[in-house]
Amino acid sequence: MLTVKDLYRDFKGFMAVNGANLEVTKGEIVAVIGPNGAGKTTLFNLITGHLKPTAGIVQFKGEDITGLAPYKICRKGISRSFQIVNIFSKLTVFENVQLALFSKYSKTFRMFSKASKYFIDETNSILEKLGLLEKKDLNSELLSHGDQKVLEIAIALASSPDLLILDEPTAGMAPRETERCIELIKKLSKEYGLTILFCEHDMKIVFNIADRIMVMVRGTTIIQGRPEEVRCNELVQKAYLGDIC
């Protein structure tokens, strides 16, 4: 579904992404791991169009999407969440998700009808799916950090993506929130057949839920494979994991 071939990104002489390769097939959960500064977030920004690659190709559903504007890439079916909480803080929880639906159904230019009448059922059902329904009228900046992260996923889900990209979904979460988030990701994949690409620091989570893992070190892909292959790969151990095997 998503293919990244020999992707490079140069920040004034520093190669943040230096030959990344990635393959995501439909229905999979793929994790990208790597030490701090390995270029994971940059890679996601390149895929979603927030940054333009210096060289390389990004293909989605067989189509070349390299360097397209982010809003165009979203319309092709890739939706993402961000590492740092990125919600609409002055809008309510309900409005946050509803806004994504305005975009999905191209209603963002409607100027003379009441916004509150649109997509009530669909918004509610998304919020229910993610367990945020009781908090829907709260101002979103009042949510706990964990809930805000979940709300981010809710916003990303609202555009009914084929591929969901999560940038460190559990960063900064309390252990219980983390567990809930993992369950959620598993559920999204199993019950709704979503293809998910995420990156994460917590190895337990990664080996727990990922079907395949891609390891990045200093911007370069070392290996992509099943968890057990990755776990026992010599290069990976040297660079990253230490002695687990």
């Binding site: 809008l91 409005e95 509803q98 003379f112 916004a115 555009s159």
Partner: protein
């Protein structure tokens, strides 16, 4: 909800009977307040609801005024065309200025807008044969039915009411919510598949248009235009109205306009240090009312309701 509509209806009724009971000067003053309220509200659409640093809003006010004035004085076209041309001139210039400034964001957007706006001001200020230079244009004739204080008051009230109603609808529409999303988090909005530049440009056109409508109304009420209308210090004054009333609220800027116009009218007649007073007001707002007066009123009313409940 019911309460709000009762308040609105009361205010509206008062506004309708006002010219029948108060002297002419107050009718004139209320007209100026109404059109300035529209001006401040239109700025708030850009700066408060969409987060665009519209630092030179007065330019569209001035262009609306000059557009109308020039059609009336230089051509033989009917009046209603002059009233339409003013706002259209404002929209055209906000399109041009917008397209240039949109290459930058935030403060840089605002600074570029101030420079481009000042350029237009300089042309208007110097072009004696066409715009009347620093004298402006005075004694602009308007149709008989809106020529006296009462007539132009009702005309202003009518146009301002419709404009405010339209703006209110826009803010609460899907488009309105989308631009608030752009204000809160442009990067997130882009990742939802929303083309933020197109939305921002439309916001600029809306703000410019209603700024132009306010300028057109000024011609009707005051029968004059002059370059000070579009000098950058006046933009600052409108901005202070918005901040004083409350930037993220719909009615706040209107309240700000009431206060500033009233103060300017009375204090401006007894002292020439009005800009200094304006500066003191700004300092006061920044330190003590960062959310604006409207939020203060709202909290007060809510607090009262809360106390009554318990």
């Amino acid at each position: 909800m019911v309460k709000k509509s009762i308040i609105l209806i009361t205010i509206f009724t008062v506004l309708i009977v006002l010219p029948l009971i108060v002297p002419r000067f107050y009718v004139y003053l209320t007209s100026i307040i109404l059109l300035t309220g529209l001006l401040a509200t239109s700025l708030n659409i850009a700066i408060g609801y969409c987060g665009i640093y519209q630092f030179h809003h007065a330019i569209f006010y001035g262009l609306g005024g000059y557009g109308t004035a020039l059609v009336i004085t230089k051509t033989n076209l009917p009046y209603y065309i002059a009233f339409i041309v003013g706002p259209i001139v404002a929209v055209l210039f906000s399109l041009i200025i917008g397209l240039i400034c949109m290459r930058l964001t935030k403060l840089y957007f605002g600074m570029l807008q101030i420079s481009l706006g000042s350029l237009i001001w300089a042309v208007v200020y110097r072009w004696y044969s066409f715009t009347g230079g620093d004298d402006g244009i005075h004694g602009i004739p308007v149709p008989d039915f809106i020529a006296d204080a009462k007539g132009n008051y009702y005309f202003t009230l009518f146009v301002v009411s419709i404009s405010i109603f339209i703006l209110y609808r826009i803010i609460n529409s899907p488009f309105g919510k989308t631009i608030q999303g752009i204000r809160d988090n442009p990067i997130r909005t882009v990742s939802l598949g929303i083309n933020i530049n197109v939305h921002k440009l439309i916001v600029l056109l809306i703000a410019g248009f209603f700024g132009g409508v306010a300028g057109m109304l000024f011609v009707v009420v005051d029968n004059a235009v002059f370059p000070d209308m579009m000098f950058w210090t006046y933009s600052l004054e409108i901005l202070i109205m918005v901040l004083l009333g409350g930037m993220y609220t719909f009615w706040g800027p209107f309240i700000g306009a009431i206060i500033i116009v009233t103060l300017r009218t009375y204090l401006g007649s007894i002292t020439q240090y009005w800009p200094m007073i304006l500066g003191l007001i700004l300092i006061f707002v920044i330190f003590f009312l960062p959310q604006g007066i409207y939020a203060l009123i709202e909290n007060f009313v809510k607090g009262k309701a809360h106390n009554a409940d318990s």
